[in-house]
């Protein structure tokens, strides 16, 4: 298989596993991109994730960046299309009949069951990203301070992210 079809296959498969959105997909994406296909290092993966956070749009944007890094412009379009198509077709089909199951027991049971799994997945994403970004004590300090600001203040996330980038650029951290 060439790189384009590998990218399409990896991301089409990820699409149907993206319960809880893109953040829950980070560990599997990292496993595929770094460990299975060796397209980049874990640190490079974390840097692309950070770059995607600095852009507007859905959290899924990291997918376009990985496509760009691995396969250039067409790689970006292929990964973006592949991660969107299967879940979109499913959503199109299911949204048409959703109301019928509004109060069904199986739907409520499944929603209750999915909730802690989704929370565990997002915690795992955070742990993996922290592991690959804690390169020294100053990076660890950034994580602690930024997490405190994200959780306990109403500061705009973009302000916190850009403050960290500026502190890094002028040599305070990083």
């Amino acid at each position: 298989m060439n790189t384009y079809s590998q990218l399409a296959a990896v991301y089409a498969q990820l699409s149907l596993m993206a319960f809880g959105g893109a953040n829950a997909l980070i560990p599997e994406m990292q496993r595929q991109v770094v460990d299975v296909h060796h397209w980049m290092s874990a640190r490079e993966f974390a840097a692309l994730y950070a770059l995607a956070q600095a852009a507007p749009g859905p959290n899924m944007m990291v997918v376009s960046l990985i496509g760009l890094r691995v396969g250039g412009f067409w790689g970006a379009l292929i990964t973006t299309g592949a991660v969107a198509a299967p879940s979109s077709v499913l959503t199109y089909l299911v949204s048409g009949v959703w109301d019928r199951f509004k109060n069904a027991n199986w739907r409520r049971a499944l929603q209750a069951g999915l909730q802690p799994v989704t929370i565990g997945l997002i915690s795992a994403s955070a742990a993996l990203l922290i592991e690959s970004t804690t390169v020294d004590w100053r990076a660890a300090l950034v994580i602690v301070v930024a997490a405190g600001l994200f959780i306990f203040t109403k500061m705009h996330p973009l302000l916190i992210l850009s403050a960290a980038a500026v502190a890094g650029a002028i040599g305070l951290v990083g």
């Binding site: 560990p27 199109y92 069951g113 997945l121 100053r138 992210l161 650029a169």
Partner: protein, 185 residues
């Protein structure tokens, strides 16, 4: 009173749908959900607040990006497949173009020392953003030891054992659903 009627009378064209979501995509720094709700419910009144929450519930339950799925469900509801395509392309066009431009710039300057240091710090802060999100969405688990146990098993399976999601996800979801349903209050 107007808000209650909103969803019934709304009839956006394919072009309206594209433009509405295009603006959401351009503004949506740090996640598009708040911007999407503002546009759909408060500004254009395409859905009532209750209809929006119901649609978001469905879209979170299905795999895929939550707001990506909202574009499909909302577009399909008003204008079928062309509507779904218009919403989706409206949401994605600007962010994909911007992120590709950023990626090209990053590739060119990645080895400049201050760019490299900026990205070390930005990556750390972005990791903290995910940690904060995990912290916030974990709040419904308080006082539910079984659900906390399921979340902990998921964490260990993925972050420690590094199991493939395609195998772990069905097992964890089915196990969790049966366990929590069996011991529901």
């Amino acid at each position: 009173m107007e808000a209650a009627k909103a969803g019934e009378n709304a009839s956006p064209s394919v072009f309206d749908l594209f433009v509405g979501f295009f603006i959401v995509g351009v503004y949506g720094f740090g996640g598009v959900l708040p911007w999407a709700r503002r546009m759909i419910v408060e500004q254009r009144k395409w859905l009532t607040p209750v209809e929006f929450t119901d649609m978001l519930g469905l879209c979170s339950f299905l795999p895929g990006g939550n707001i990506m799925n909202v574009t499909i469900a909302l577009g399909a509801r008003f204008r079928g497949i062309p509507g779904a395509a218009a919403c989706f392309l409206g949401l994605m066009t600007a962010p994909v173009a911007i992120v590709i431009a950023l990626g090209v710039v990053y590739d060119r300057y990645a080895y400049h020392p201050s760019v490299r240091r900026a990205f070390v710090a930005l990556s750390a802060a972005a990791a903290a953003f995910v940690l904060a999100t995990a912290w916030k969405i974990a709040s419904p688990l308080r006082g539910k030891p079984l659900a906390i146990g399921v979340a902990a098993c998921t964490f260990v399976a993925i972050a420690v054992l590094r199991l493939p999601l395609v195998a772990a996800m069905p097992v964890l979801t089915i196990g969790s659903t049966l366990l929590l349903w069996r011991f529901r209050k």
